[in-house]
């Protein structure tokens, strides 16, 4: 019968219309500002800079201004200026730090390559996507202090990844400390050995 195909199709639509009142399968709408679909662990929007201590974000940035992200960023939206001096980082080791660290979110394409390549686990991807501005140059340019986010915040957006990073950094620090300790011990031992092997110009009682 001519029109039976159309009627069949309309039956599907009618079923869907009725179903949209009770069938959760067919209730697709997320009432956006009030309710939000959860974002996955890996969701990425724009980069952020992780700092160890929220009280002193700029003093405890993990970033050492190595400029790998600046070079590798595909759309070239990162600008870094290295410091001339060194400042102690969270572990007390003197490091370079970025004097200027700017990300132009008007250009950033959120590919995550900077976070993937950062050897210091400093630059990570944020999950904030509701950004609007009325001026491209003042509203969308993120400076260093706007980018710096605490490690706790990083944990809150990506628990699994942050825990992994923390464990790795802790292990690295431990290894570095042990290495330093071992080096100190070896140095002491060497000094002692040297002292022992030194010609006995000093009386043995001094050793």
């Amino acid at each position: 019968m001519l029109g039976s195909g159309i009627l069949k199709g309309l039956a599907v639509t009618a079923k869907n219309f009725a179903g949209s009142f009770y069938d959760p399968e067919r209730m697709a709408t997320v009432q956006y500002p009030e309710e939000r679909a959860p974002l996955g662990e890996h969701y990425r929007s724009f980069p952020l800079l992780v700092c160890e201590n929220a009280a002193d974000p700029l003093g405890t940035l993990r970033c050492v201004a190595c400029t790998i992200c600046e070079k590798e960023c595909p759309p070239q939206c990162i600008y870094i200026e290295k410091s001339k001096d060194k400042k102690p980082d969270a572990t007390g080791k003197p490091q370079l730090y970025p004097v200027i660290f700017t990300i132009d979110t008007a250009v950033c394409m959120g590919c995550g390559i900077c976070a993937e390549l950062c050897p210091f686990d400093s630059i990570k991807m944020d999950k904030v996507f509701e950004v609007t501005a009325t001026n491209r140059f003042t509203g969308l340019l993120l400076e260093r202090d706007q980018l710096a986010k605490s490690n706790a915040y990083y944990h809150s957006i990506r628990p699994a990844e942050a825990a992994e990073v923390d464990a790795r950094l802790a292990a690295e620090r431990l290894a570095a400390e042990e290495k330093a300790k071992a080096a100190a011990l070896a140095k002491a031992a060497a000094a002692a050995a040297k002292a022992a092997a030194a010609p006995p110009t000093t009386p043995p009682s001094a050793a």
Partner: protein, 225 residues
């Protein structure tokens, strides 16, 4: 809701055309319907923004997604995508604007009737985005048409577009029809049409419209080199 200090001496009624925002707010609170027409008008406008059906690139897919069941832009009254610029209030520049395309974009903008608004959606429309190094890519649509809301992202999630739309609604609700800060479309002297660039031998001419855009202020980065 308590109104502040109702016992104070009655304020003199301000002269016509000389009503400040505070006065207007005060009058509104006291139930004077003088300003309600403007508000009613803005309320109606902000809840029936008809966008131009105008997809440029990747972001257009997210714009379509924003119109589908899950995000449902119809909840904000903006689901009627008009294929003709003559019937549209809002231009969502969704995607990369190339130099070959910009004359058409400006022409479409000129054909839209006032009041009209522009949302630059996505990195490409704002600044050229990832493609800003391209020889045929315009480094930001704001070089030729005035942009009201910028939504970064590549592409922005549909929720981000909805958020941008809400910002635009807020902006529309705050517009005035009279007075020194009246909205652009109420002023006869404000430009509504902009010069259309031409495609020249090596580049578009001119490279930007000085009436809309001036080269930005460098933030003192010129020392590194």
């Amino acid at each position: 809701m308590s109104t502040p200090a109702p016992t104070a001496a009655p304020q003199p009624f301000p002269a016509a055309g000389n009503i400040s925002d505070a006065d207007r707010e005060n009058l509104r609170r006291n139930g004077v319907l003088l300003t309600s027409l403007e508000e009613l008008y803005n309320w109606g406008r902000s809840n029936s923004i008809w966008p131009l059906q105008f997809g440029l690139a990747c972001c257009a897919i997210e714009m379509i997604a924003a119109a589908t069941a899950r995000f449902d832009i119809a909840r904000f009254g903006a689901e009627i995508f008009r294929p003709s610029p003559r019937q549209a209030d809002l231009m969502i520049v969704s995607g990369t604007v190339t130099k070959k395309m910009i004359p058409q974009v400006v022409r479409l903008w000129n054909q839209m009737p006032e009041p009209k608004y522009c949302i630059a959606m996505g990195a490409c429309a704002i600044s050229g985005g990832p493609f800003k190094q391209g020889y045929n890519v315009l480094k930001g649509v704001d070089r030729f048409i005035p942009v009201d809301i910028y939504i970064p992202g590549c592409p922005p999630r549909p929720e981000a577009l909805l958020n941008g739309l809400m910002q635009l609604q807020k902006k529309i609700r705050g517009e005035h029809l009279t007075g020194p800060d009246a909205a652009k479309h109420t002023r006869a002297d404000a430009p509504s049409e902009y010069a259309v660039p031409t495609c020249g031998a090596h580049d578009i001419e001119p490279t930007h419209n000085p009436a809309v855009w001036t080269p930005p202020v460098p933030l003192g980065r010129l020392g590194k080199g």
